[in-house]
Every structure is written in C-alpha cells, then in structure tokens.
Symmetry: C2
Subunit: 336 residues, 2 copies
Amino acid sequence: MATIRDVAKLADVGIGTVSRVISGKGSVSQKTRDKVNGAMAALKFIPNSSAQSLSSKRFNTIGLWGTKSSGEMSRATLTKIERELQPFDVSLITTDGERNSTNHPNASRLSIDNLVNKGCDGLIIWGSDMPDFDILQLEKEFPNIVLLNNKVDAMKDKSFTFDHYKAGYIAGEYLIKNGHKDIALITGWFDTSDANERHNGFIDALKDNNVFIHDNLIYRGDYTFKKGFEGAKYLLNQKPSFTALFCANDQSAMSAISALSSNGVNIPNDISVLGYDNMNISSYTTPPLTTINVPVQKMAISAARKLINLCYGAALEVDYNFEVELIERQSILNLN
Amino acid sequence: MATIRDVAKLADVGIGTVSRVISGKGSVSQKTRDKVNGAMAALKFIPNSSAQSLSSKRFNTIGLWGTKSSGEMSRATLTKIERELQPFDVSLITTDGERNSTNHPNASRLSIDNLVNKGCDGLIIWGSDMPDFDILQLEKEFPNIVLLNNKVDAMKDKSFTFDHYKAGYIAGEYLIKNGHKDIALITGWFDTSDANERHNGFIDALKDNNVFIHDNLIYRGDYTFKKGFEGAKYLLNQKPSFTALFCANDQSAMSAISALSSNGVNIPNDISVLGYDNMNISSYTTPPLTTINVPVQKMAISAARKLINLCYGAALEVDYNFEVELIERQSILNLN
DNA sequence: TTATATTATGGAACCGTTTCCAATTATAAA
DNA sequence: TTTATAATTGGAAACGGTTCCATAATATAA
C-alpha cells in the first residue's frame, strides 16, 4: 500500500501538499495538483482511513441504533439512509440495541457507547425505547444525535416524528364515518409515546362520537404476526360482537385477517379491519388493507440529512412535517 | 479523552504495560494489572479505535455487500449476523451494491473497494450478482471473503448456499403428488444461478412425470409484489387454464394470491399456489402459504462464523449443509 | 549460593494521516 | 522598480495506539 509519502516523493512535492490535494482544502496550484493526481494514480494510492480518522477525529461513519427489528425499519429504509450518506462518503453502522437489553439496566446506553466508541460522527436513535431523560443526557455528552420516530420536546430540531395522535384520531373517525360502532382493538405495547398517542387519538375520536369500546374487545398485542393472529381468534369468541377491528400495526392486521378468514369470517363483509403503517406488503393482503400511512422512509431520509448537517456542516434541506394520511383499500365495509 | 499515556502515568507503569493489559497479550503481573485497571477505570479510559486500527491493521469491522434489498435479507437476518459478530466486538457495515450499478460497468467492484478501503477485515458477499470470475479475482486480492446464497466451485469452503435445484425439484414433485398437471409459473429474474437452478429443478420434476408447462402459462416476474400481482392477473386470462401456480418467491406468491382472490378465485379450491422462501409473513397470508423453506438466517450465521474464523483466527463451528424442506400449509389442494 | 530460564517491564519507533507555521513564490499596487 | 499582499509549499509535530527489544526482577535448577 502506497502512503502519502510515497506519493509526495514520486510527485516531488511535500506531504502537506499531497494531503491538500486529497482533501481539497488549502490552496494548491493546478500544475502541482496535476502532478500529485498523476502520482496517486500511478501508485494506486488510497488514503488509509484509520490514519485519517486518528488525525482528523472524523470517522465518516454514522451509527443507527434501534431496538425493534420488526415493523417498517426494513432493509429498504436502511438503504434509503445509506443513499443519503453516500454522497458524503459516509457509511452506516447498525446496532440492534435489543440484544443485551435483558442483562443490564442501562444496556441501551451501553450499546450506544459501544457504537460511539467504535467511532461514529453521529447517531440516529430510532424509536422511542429510550427514556427522554437518557436521551437528553446522551445529547449533552454527544450532541450529534437525531431521533427517528420519536420526539423529545427539548430537541425539536432533532426529532423526526409523526403525529400519531392525529393519525389515531383519523383512524377512529374513519371507522365512525363508515358506520361502525362495535369496535375491537388489537393494541401494541404501550411502552412508547407514539403507541400511547396513537391509542389515545383513536379512543378520543370514538369518544367524541359517543362510541366506547367494550373492555372485552381490547386485546393486548405486541405488533407481531403471532399476537395478531391470536388476538383475532380471541376476539372472535368475546361477548359483544364487533363489526370493525383496529390493529396497532399492519403486521397484526395481516395476521388478524388470516385468522378471521380461516374461521370463515369474510373481510370486510363480516368484519372490517383497519391497519396502521402502510407496509408495502399491505396492498397485497387479501383483501388489500386499508391503513394509515406512516412515512418512515421520508422520516428516515430527513433524519439522515439533519445528521449530516450536524456532523459535517452541510446545509441539506430537512423536512419536519410528515403528512398523516389514511390509505383506503378494501378491508373496510361502509355500513351506511 | 484519556490516552494510554495518561493511564500509564497514573498507574505509574510504562505504556507497553498498559497496552498489554488492554489486549490481554503478553505477561503482566496480577499486581500491575490491578493497578492499571484501576487507573483505566478512574480515567474512564476507552481505547481509541482509529489508533488501534492504524497500528494493528485490524479493523474489527466486517462488510456486507449485497444488491437485492428485497427477499429475505431482512433486518432480522442482519441482526442474526450482528449477533454472531458481537462476542468478537466486531461491527457490521452494510452496503447496497445496487446503488451505482447503473453508472459504471464494474460498479459492483467499485462499491466493494469502497467498503474494503473504508477498513473491513472481511466481507460477506450476499447473492449471486457478481460473476464468478470477478469473485475469484477479488478473492485473490482480498481473501477474507465469504459467499452467502451463492457458490463458486473453487471456493467451496467459503460458499454458503442451498440446493436450489433440489428445492425446485421437490416443489415440482409436490404439485405432481397432489395431482396437478396444469401448472402455471411466475418466475423471477434468470440472472443468477440459484434462480436458474430452482427453475430447472422444478421443470425437471415435471418432465420426469411427463408434465409440461404451456408457454402461455409462464410469466416473467422479478420477485416483487407488483409483478406477482400483475402476473396472476395475466395468467388468469390465458388459454389453457391451470390448477396450480408456482411462484419464484413468497412475495410474488402473496400478491398473486391477492390478485386471484380479488378476481373471485378461491385459493386453494380453484387454484393452488406454491411459494418459495418461507418468509415469516407467509404463515399469515390468506390462506397460509405452502412454500419451500430457504434457511437464509442459518446460512447467514454460518457465513458470518466462517468469516470470523478467517479474519480473526477463531475456530467456530460452521455448517455447509442446509436442509431443503417443503412447508405444508393451506394453499395447495390435493386433487387426488 | 550461583547459573539459568522465565516472567515483567519501560519506552522508542512506528502506523499514515492532518494541521500548523514558517518560508518561498507569484501577483498586484504604487 | 519596489513594496505589500496573497497564494503556494515543505515538513515537523501530533493523533493514540501496538510492537519489539533491551533490561530488570523473579523463579527454578544445580
């Protein structure tokens, strides 16, 4: 491997000059620049990234920390983020924060420290699995962080989130508008603010229309296919029957549809099902799923851009407002 | 940030000694070791990873290069890989090789070089999008590579693949056994060897039973939901009708089911559908999808382990044989 | 006790960059 | 032409580890 000194010698210039042409910073005459570029090409010179990081304290790497491997933080979303980073020659290191969360009380902080120590210029914290307090503490020590699908009031400009309350409300309203009054629920976990907001929005919409959900018709899920399936089967045996089922995410909704169908209920004629997320799979359930669109990829892109601005002094345009939208497909029957 | 010299000074030892206790290599008396550990704790010392890499030429990072963001290289699979790496304190950098594949003839090689130059000890090459020749060439320059879901004959011990021919054959046989003779196909791309092998296996199974597929009933797909949907609609209008549909992957199968159902055909009573992949979603289609299990995660784990052995001289156990298995669910009708 | 092998230890040299400052050269202004 | 100013250049020092070698301390054998 050729080093900067080899290049300098071949081009008959100083090492500082070579460094300047590599980085593009500082002034170098065109003539010299050509000489150096020629030498670099001849030697197939590639800068050693460890040496660069050591001396510049810049890593050209950002970390993505998240816990839920489910839902829409799909490979596709990662790819979107990578594509934002690529023009800046920055790579992405991902960590599944969940992996040691059982062992240690503040395991999340540990896994983050690992990431940071490894050498990240910045961090995307995905999801709301970390208490606000811890996030604020982290930000004090390591300000280059950005929140994806979570918000902390004191960090508005670093929060990329979505109005889950409004989305929940719209979901509720939509069922009402379609004449549904007997409604069942498969929830997710309630350990995150967005889950609570979505739920509250939904319930408030019903309340505002004097519709109340019977306790028996609320099934505590966890966003998985499995719980969606089990939940639907459970609800089917409950006392007050229902005409519509709202699921906390599309995965639950899909498997609920599967469970209902296999029990002979027709969607949407017997029971309507409403999802939440708009995974790309959701157009292809049977029947296609009506759902709330959560623009994760857009959010991820903006989060990445903000982080680039933060870390590398860029000035990329960043979006903070993500439209709440209900995607009408064919899983809801209009009772009116 | 405390450095090794700060630690040495506080513990009143030499820097070499500190380095020895950090790495655990070389001999240090227990007494000295305790002193040094105490000093490290007091100073909250964290080794600078760039400096470590620079001087040791070890990066504690491996790269994952792949092109298809679809299919089963899901976040879950990435997580599996990460978990194999974690005990060795190695992180994973992913690259979507696809992103610049349009611009440049050997863009794949370029994006790999990027990864390597960034500082990887080894590389997982996922999928068969790179010609064997290029892979062999790459291996010459950079031997720490491992192939996931692809094989190169000269690199048997580095290839983690699956008997797609056999799997295709079993799929074909299964349809035959269930009495199907009028069979339609939604294929994937044929640009990779596994796609071809799967297809050939399937066709051979039919041939061996004197069943032949009518040209009209072969639809060229691309593994996406979209093409599966369109393909199913297309096939429905074709002349020889069919009783079974084999899709090159579960995504196509799912959306084919959706298309067929929405056209009033009942699965499996009117048409049987067979998938390929066994995504975790596939238990929850309507009806649940009968499919071939492709143990990507197991393969990924073994690939990761082999790479660790290669890069870090470990001796982890590695599996090369991945069972071909048909998962019977409810999307196939037995005509006998 | 002495000779010898073994274990511990300190620290210079090195890894390959960036950065800064002093020195040189080119350019513009007077 | 001279002077002031700006652009260009070289290279030492620094970044924070690892490694190796010479040396010191200790253990073992004779």
